[in-house]
Subunit: 225 residues, 6 copies
Amino acid sequence: MQNKIVVVKLTGKIFDEKELIGKYVELFEKLTNKYHLVVVTGGGKKAREYIEIARNLGVSSNYWLDLIGIMASRLNAYLLISKLYPKAYYKPVENLEELHNAVLSNKIVFVGGLIPGQSTAAVAVEVSEALSVNKLIMVSAVDHVYERDPMKYANAKKYTEIEASKLKKIIEQQILPGEYALIDVKALDLAIRSKITIYITYYREPENILKILNGENPGTIIYPR
Amino acid sequence: MQNKIVVVKLTGKIFDEKELIGKYVELFEKLTNKYHLVVVTGGGKKAREYIEIARNLGVSSNYWLDLIGIMASRLNAYLLISKLYPKAYYKPVENLEELHNAVLSNKIVFVGGLIPGQSTAAVAVEVSEALSVNKLIMVSAVDHVYERDPMKYANAKKYTEIEASKLKKIIEQQILPGEYALIDVKALDLAIRSKITIYITYYREPENILKILNGENPGTIIYPR
Amino acid sequence: MQNKIVVVKLTGKIFDEKELIGKYVELFEKLTNKYHLVVVTGGGKKAREYIEIARNLGVSSNYWLDLIGIMASRLNAYLLISKLYPKAYYKPVENLEELHNAVLSNKIVFVGGLIPGQSTAAVAVEVSEALSVNKLIMVSAVDHVYERDPMKYANAKKYTEIEASKLKKIIEQQILPGEYALIDVKALDLAIRSKITIYITYYREPENILKILNGENPGTIIYPR
Amino acid sequence: MQNKIVVVKLTGKIFDEKELIGKYVELFEKLTNKYHLVVVTGGGKKAREYIEIARNLGVSSNYWLDLIGIMASRLNAYLLISKLYPKAYYKPVENLEELHNAVLSNKIVFVGGLIPGQSTAAVAVEVSEALSVNKLIMVSAVDHVYERDPMKYANAKKYTEIEASKLKKIIEQQILPGEYALIDVKALDLAIRSKITIYITYYREPENILKILNGENPGTIIYPR
Amino acid sequence: MQNKIVVVKLTGKIFDEKELIGKYVELFEKLTNKYHLVVVTGGGKKAREYIEIARNLGVSSNYWLDLIGIMASRLNAYLLISKLYPKAYYKPVENLEELHNAVLSNKIVFVGGLIPGQSTAAVAVEVSEALSVNKLIMVSAVDHVYERDPMKYANAKKYTEIEASKLKKIIEQQILPGEYALIDVKALDLAIRSKITIYITYYREPENILKILNGENPGTIIYPR
Amino acid sequence: MQNKIVVVKLTGKIFDEKELIGKYVELFEKLTNKYHLVVVTGGGKKAREYIEIARNLGVSSNYWLDLIGIMASRLNAYLLISKLYPKAYYKPVENLEELHNAVLSNKIVFVGGLIPGQSTAAVAVEVSEALSVNKLIMVSAVDHVYERDPMKYANAKKYTEIEASKLKKIIEQQILPGEYALIDVKALDLAIRSKITIYITYYREPENILKILNGENPGTIIYPR
């Protein structure tokens, strides 16, 4: 009997804080008895450092800069795999075919970036779609979806739920600065077309994942319509 | 000495008309002496028929429906390969790594769809980006970019050139109906970020490709800004 | 505990009739609880259409024409996979090594053509041999083995059982016209050498598969001697 | 400018006689300047020894016995590669897709067995078909095609040329004992359908390959009709 | 519930004696119910014969000579697989990634050589390290570790246990002649760094494997310090 | 006509100093016209940081820690590839088979670590052996081979040439502390067996590579005996 698949996307920020990684590892170890986890890892600070070195060398191609970011996100995945093996599948998945194969193992499956020109948020929605999963937990650098950058606007409106199409419009109007961006239009479009509900939760609160699995809403729910 | 890479995207419609396929094959055979061709093939009518059969079976997952469309676009690629081999690389490329490898052969390289959730138009821009090519020829079902559907509005404004960001807005406002859509936002975003100029040309006029290579503009130029 | 492997070969004709595909899908869904199904899919009308397009382009190489037919048979496999996933292995198997790997998943495994110059009937026998299976169900365009083409000779002798070596001679004497041919010498030779009994059954009667599994003989049994 | 492809099939017997291997290596080194060689290697005595060990262990599956023979034929290929590298492609080709890829290297390409249930003679014809080559040199244990086994019948009729369809009939009538069989029906069928002329030559006379390339006929020509 | 992984290394000598192979096969069939076996196969006499042929051809590169030995060790693995399938994974593992994948099957996994310049003894330790196994059974041509070659020195000191670092020194001082060498420095270094205890046992006594699994010491224990 | 292969091993330290990377890139771009470069990249500071994170998570397996280091060394390779593409092969080579394939492209080929339990110095010797190259340039953190750590012993004896077997003894006697170690016994053993001369040169002086190619000796020559 296979456990139910749960897709979790981890912001790369987690890999910048050693204690946090440990907490997520513990959580995954606990959850793996009840759920079949598929975890998408972002890049974080080290990814940006590598990209910065390439830029300094004179690399301007977005393809190659993205590829370096993807490789760094996979290295983050390896960090978690190295600790969770043999409960984790032995390598980060590199494309959707490999995803289907890895999932057959019933192990925790890790996925980094997949393809240049695509955010790891979009990867996470794509992974959910490929596996016919309709709930996606996005562990993010922000605790909620806001109408504006909460760092700049103290009274920015905070959403506990929002429709994907509305969030799309907010993003398209570029009200949100790049650094704040927690999700992109591509990811939202895929979520809408495949009716995937997204749960945004704050990365410093790993236990929120449990809450979401128990039906609570500690952050923002993005409805696929 | 390697020839200059030229990326061409073929609408699937070409594969619905036997004489047209033959003309494009002839053209590619001629061009291959001067240019290193990379050709992205769309799906066309047969792709839609296969997808329709799957839908009739009760398949609702966009992932699987897209995948079937991708496989059909690769079968289209095989048609051209079977005729052009050994001037063509022996199989359709299935991801960007394989693209880099295939290009080393100096043969005509064919690419079908790559990944569910992505149009073959976006594939063509991605391929251009991966190969650092800044001009992309899109052989389309329409002869130009119009402000509205020319089938419905006889006096729809016709563009001989347009900025990608402007076209993006037209698309986002959904003025263009789905069937007419010749390009999507994702493709335009990639084109802008990587400064790829797109040449739209009518699929019933294969010789337009030569004109574009000679600096003429028989259709619409989409500037990456 | 693994279920017993059952190899079924489906004539491509099934894919030309939408309701039939649905019935086979239903049947496979039901059988998968008791049997480990390995299903070989033929090409059918669409395969011939693609091959025809290639021929029109001037392709005369049997290698490439066969390869296009193989790709079309794999697209047929994808139709069934898209409906049966996750009960089906996620892709059509492309060679015998991949077959062994796919079978480890305990999912329904689909196989299209494998290699130019070989019928899907021969593929089905090869698959049976590779998996040490000694019974093969061939869902065919004809309901029985006949001594001559039953379409032309109303009183053609109908076999309910026949020895493979005898059928081989009938085929070698070319009494059977190409279109009628339900099996070829290569397939029979493999069946004989590996003692695989073949059950011919009519494609319009999916329930015959159940009958055969229950020990009945609704068509023709070809004994491997 | 690529050299013309020449396909040569080597009987496994060559690998049983050390000096002979050396002579063929020398020949290939010389020929590689003018021709693009693709060489199919048979199994020979060691292959039979390995198969014998498996049989002694109780293995009766033809699939596995053939697979062991294939692996041994690839080891023979490695012997030649180890000596000819870097003039040879770095590994034996394992399927027809890999063949197309290997041929792009312009190196001498070696192929062992490909798939259980198929002789290396059939492999050689298949390789010729895949590469659109219409002449195939088969270096054989016998110097000519005979009507009966020349070992047993001193006055057996010797052919300097024969039609494939006629040879097929001789083989089907089982006049030729297994050990003598230099080619099988499957290989002849493929040769006929793809119009491949086969040149039989004696394995103890490596220089015959040169003669055949120069238009002479030191053995038997099998015409594809 | 997965069985505990046990890594066994078989000297190639086993493959030179037909009855012995059979006994090991029987043993593995019995053990597979209680243990998850991973078996590393050496090369033996046939490997040396192949290498000898290559040398006679004039091959001096250690890379290629080793590669031929590796291929022969994989053929040995195929002998065991052909008998044990489907209880055995369907092919010899060729690198450590494939090892992790094969182990997911819960079948008996066979490994031949992995990479030129590395003994199969070192492979066995590497496999143990990759799978976090801390006991390794080495079925060897000698029954114990001796201080000198017991063939030459009748009263050579025999160890029932020894520290890896001490054995390393004995080997480095070249007291042991090449033919006698049962383990190399590289393997011992890996064993020490990953705390893997090695059990040496005589290849003519297959039942010793059972003894070791039951906590006895029929040969020499090499402690990883 | 192919250029002569030159194998260069880069200490990971280069990737810790941005200007240095740029200088090596420039040098490689210049050299690629005359030489066919194969470059092995070490890990450096970032590799150690990743390994440190894993250790903090509680990972003690050397296999996994090494694997993370290997992945980091490949990321370093990607930095150089992203700048040198299309003069560089499009990805770091992951095993020796892939190396042979990559070398066929005539591009600059990059290799990171290959397998846990092996230094990138040993990788570089192995790569040289696989390609039959008998000179290897090792760009190192130290400018020469010393008898003791020059940091601690101001008057440590400096070698401008040394025999591999002598250096091996120095290393085995552990006179050299870990941090100083520029090469290991495994690498020296491989160099000796395959007669590969190693040129040690200081990483802060990229132009030394040119000197070595011109027959000078700006560091230490290690002779393979």
